[in-house]
Amino acid sequence: MNSDSFPKIIGFLCNWCSYTGADLAGTARMKIPPAIRVVRVMCSGRIDPLFVLRAYLKGADGIMMMGCHPGDCHYQKGNYNARRRYVMLDSILGTLGLERERFGLWWVSASEAPRYAQATKDFTERIEEMGPNPLRDEIFL
């Protein structure tokens, strides 16, 4: 198997809510699984479905999309688009049987540090149970 540590979960976090929430979790010394690799975007609406697909095809064991709660987006509407994009990805991956459980969307506000800790903990457990993404070993994609 690809010798990268398992699990490797890519988290796309919006700058204003979820990243700040994650930062707060860090400041508060909460336990966050080391599996999570954070990529900061300014808004969850910036998360191009292609980012998620590329991460998955490169062998990421899980992908988390995070943003502000609907109605609280720093840019007003970005997270509404993110929600539709997640629903679209979930449908495409689900129809093709590509382990839709490796993907998720969470609304985490800047003050919701415990929520961030819980979401990452639960998701990491789910991924550990699922095992590594078989695409880690798949070269000829």
């Binding site: 690809n2 990268d4 479905p49 292609l50 697909l53 590329r54 095809l57 943003g67 709660h69 609907p70 109605g71 509407k77 509404y80 688009n81 929600r83 539709r84 994009r85 997640y86 629903v87 679209m88 990805l89 449908s91 495409i92 689900g94 129809t95 093709l96 049987g97 590509l98 382990e99 998720g104 969307l105 969470w106 609304w107 078989p134 695409l135 798949e138 070269i139 000829f140 994609l141």
Partner: protein, 370 residues
């Protein structure tokens, strides 16, 4: 019951006669339809402005050399056509055109849209290899008997949306006996009635949905279910997807033929998706090998993310694939599920925004709050 005109001529010839009349009387300045190119038997879409050129027109020849929705988009890209044009399109081609109009890639104005109740088209190869001509009479028999024709495109055989929407005129075909003697043109709009006012024919009343169309719809639905079940058995999962697209060359012909993929500069042809030498090096350091050219699965999944929501299931993609990958089977399956999630039917209503370009504040409320 909608008004219709019965022209005393075979379906092909009746429509050509009507179009010739409209062109002659200057009611239209052009006709867009299929035309036999020359004695070689090649058939292509043509925009015709002289009545004499209409002689070789074959509007209902079961062949789709390109998705006509894309053709109409290309000549209305910078605004509506200034001259009225009558265009004969299949139902999926009209829907594709409407999806393009929604994306500011064309205009519906000044077109007289004529569409047959569609019994499907033959795969592109079948014209070149002669099998289309061989199976042609059998095709017309299937039309009369409202039966499935196994020689048509796979997407056609499982298509339930074969009754045109947004056509000014609908041509009765499926289930109609005596297509050789009488051509029935259902007039769906005021525009159709105006244009048909000069046509020599009998005024009749005719329903678009008949016993024949119901019968065919049922057969198509059953076939679609069979295809879906087969997909569930053998087409799902990472291994199955990789196997399906194993032969992919990355030529992007599927995308070029797709009416919805209109982007002049596709993401997947751009630098974003290009493999620079350094990318080869870094990937090879981590993995034991790399398919060359890389990124086929990414291209297909990405293309689905971009256009599956508007997939009209025309089947052009499978037809143009040089290595015979059933692209349309995969894309139309994904398109179906995705469209169901958004309760969207591509081409149903030009005012309805494309799901990937809009949102509702109150929807999917359970997402993200877990």
């Amino acid at each position: 019951m909608p008004k219709a005109v019965k022209i005393k001529n075979s379906t092909d010839k009746g429509i050509v006669e009507m179009l010739g009349g409209l062109l002659q009387s200057d009611k239209i300045k052009g006709v867009f339809t299929l035309k036999k190119m020359n004695e070689s038997g090649a058939v292509a879409y043509s925009l015709i402005t002289e009545v004499d050129e209409l002689e070789k027109a074959v509007p209902f020849y079961p062949f789709m050399p390109m998705n006509a929705g894309r053709a109409l988009s290309t000549f209305t890209l910078d605004g509506e056509t200034q001259e009225p044009i009558a265009a004969v399109l299949r139902p999926c081609e009209i829907r594709a055109f409407i999806e393009l109009v929604k994306r500011a890639q064309g205009s519906l104005e000044n077109f007289l849209l004529i569409s047959p109740v569609c019994a499907g088209v033959f795969p592109l190869k079948s014209l070149a290899d002669g099998s289309l001509e061989k199976n042609l009479s059998r095709y017309w028999e299937s039309v009369e008997n409202a039966a499935l024709d196994p020689n048509t495109r796979e997407t056609c055989q499982s298509c339930e949306d074969f009754i045109p929407v947004h056509a000014d005129m609908t041509i009765v075909t499926v289930g109609a006996k005596n297509l050789e003697e009488g051509c029935i043109v259902i007039l769906n709009t005021k525009k159709a009635e105006e244009f048909a006012s000069g046509v020599t024919g009998q005024t009749v009343s005719e329903e678009t949905e008949t016993e024949g169309t119901e019968k065919l719809k049922k057969l198509r639905r059953e076939w679609k279910e069979t295809v879906f079940e087969e997909f569930e058995r053998n087409g799902v999962g990472q291994a199955a997807l990789i196997k399906t697209f194993a032969a992919c060359l990355g030529c992007h012909a599927c995308s070029h033929a797709c009416p919805i993929c209109y982007c002049t500069f596709c993401d997947f042809d751009s630098k974003t998706c290009e493999y620079q030498p350094v990318s080869f090096h870094s990937e090879l350091e981590q993995k034991g090998g790399l398919k060359v050219p890389p990124g086929n699965i990414f291209f297909h999944l990405g293309r689905m993310a971009h256009m599956a929501v508007s997939c009209v299931r025309c089947g052009m993609c499978s037809d143009v694939c040089p290595v015979g990958i059933p692209v349309a089977s995969v894309f139309s399956r994904v398109g179906d599920s995705l469209q169901e999630v958004f309760e969207y039917i591509p081409g149903r209503n030009v005012e309805e925004p494309v799901p990937s370009g809009t949102y509702k504040e109150q929807e999917f409320v359970e997402i993200g709050e877990q």
